[in-house]
Amino acid sequence: AQSVTQLDSHVSVSEGTPVLLRCNYSSSYSPSLFWYVQHPNKGLQLLLKYTSAATLVKGINGFEAEFKKSETSFHLTKPSAHMSDAAEYFCVVTSYSGAGSYQLTFGKGTKLSVIP
C-alpha cells in the first residue's frame, strides 16, 4: 500500500520570498515521485521527477525537490516566488504494489498564492 500526504492545503508567500510545499509519502517498495502544477483552468504539467537517481532534483521554472528516504519526504522548494507561480501543486507517488501491480497516487494538492 502507498499513500501521499501534502501537509498544507494552502500556502501563501510574498513575491520574491522562498517557497516550500511539503509532501510526505509511504510506500512498501522503492517509489518514483513527481510534482505536477496546475494553473487555473488548465491541465496538469510535470514540474520535476525523482526516479532513484540523484536525490536533489531540479525542475522547470526554478523549482527543485529533495528526496529524503529517512524522512519519507519530497518537499518542493523555490528560492524566490514569482506571481506566475500561483497555482495548485500536486505531489504524486508511484511504486510496485505487489502481485505484478503498480499503483499511482496523487496528493490532495496545495494551493500556492503569491502576494505582490
Binding site: 518514483s32 513527481f34 488548465k42 491541465g43 510535470l46 526516479t51 495548485e88 510496485y96 499511482l104 496523487f106
Partner: protein, 118 residues
C-alpha cells in the same frame, strides 16, 4: 500538435442524459488514463488502459464506461448523468505502465473537460 487532446472542453447537460468525452494522444504512449477532479481539486483515478486493455478500474459507477478502440484513443461514455458527476475530467497518457528509473510513467495530461450536469 497537441500531445493529449480531449473534446469537448466544456459540456453542459441535463440530468439523465448520456454523454461522451473523447481523448486522443499522439505521443505513441502505451497507457492512457481518465481522472476525475472534483470541486476541491482532488484528483481521483477512474480507469487506465494499457495497449487497449483495461488495467485499472477503480470503484466507479457502472454508468461510466471507457472504450479504447486503439492505444491512441480512450473515450469515456457516461450514462444517466447525475448532479454528482459534475467535475473536470482529465485524460492522461504515459509511455508505459510501470515505475522505474527511466521515469517512463510520467503522465502527460490533456487540458480537461468540464462537465456540468443541471
Amino acid at each position: 500538435d497537441t500531445a493529449v487532446s480531449q473534446t469537448p472542453k466544456y459540456l453542459v447537460t441535463q440530468m439523465g442524459n448520456d454523454k461522451s468525452i473523447k481523448c486522443e494522444q499522439n505521443l505513441g504512449h502505451d497507457t492512457m488514463y481518465w481522472y476525475k477532479q472534483d470541486s476541491k481539486k482532488f484528483l481521483k483515478i477512474m480507469f487506465s488502459y494499457n495497449n487497449k486493455e483495461l488495467i485499472i478500474n477503480e470503484t466507479v459507477p457502472n454508468r461510466f464506461s471507457p472504450k479504447s478502440p486503439d492505444k491512441a484513443h480512450l473515450n469515456l461514455h457516461i450514462n444517466s448523468l447525475e448532479l454528482g458527476d459534475s467535475a473536470v475530467y482529465f485524460c492522461a497518457s504515459s509511455q508505459v505502465w510501470s515505475p522505474g528509473s527511466s521515469g517512463a510513467n510520467v503522465l502527460t495530461f490533456g487540458a480537461g473537460s468540464r462537465l456540468t450536469v443541471l
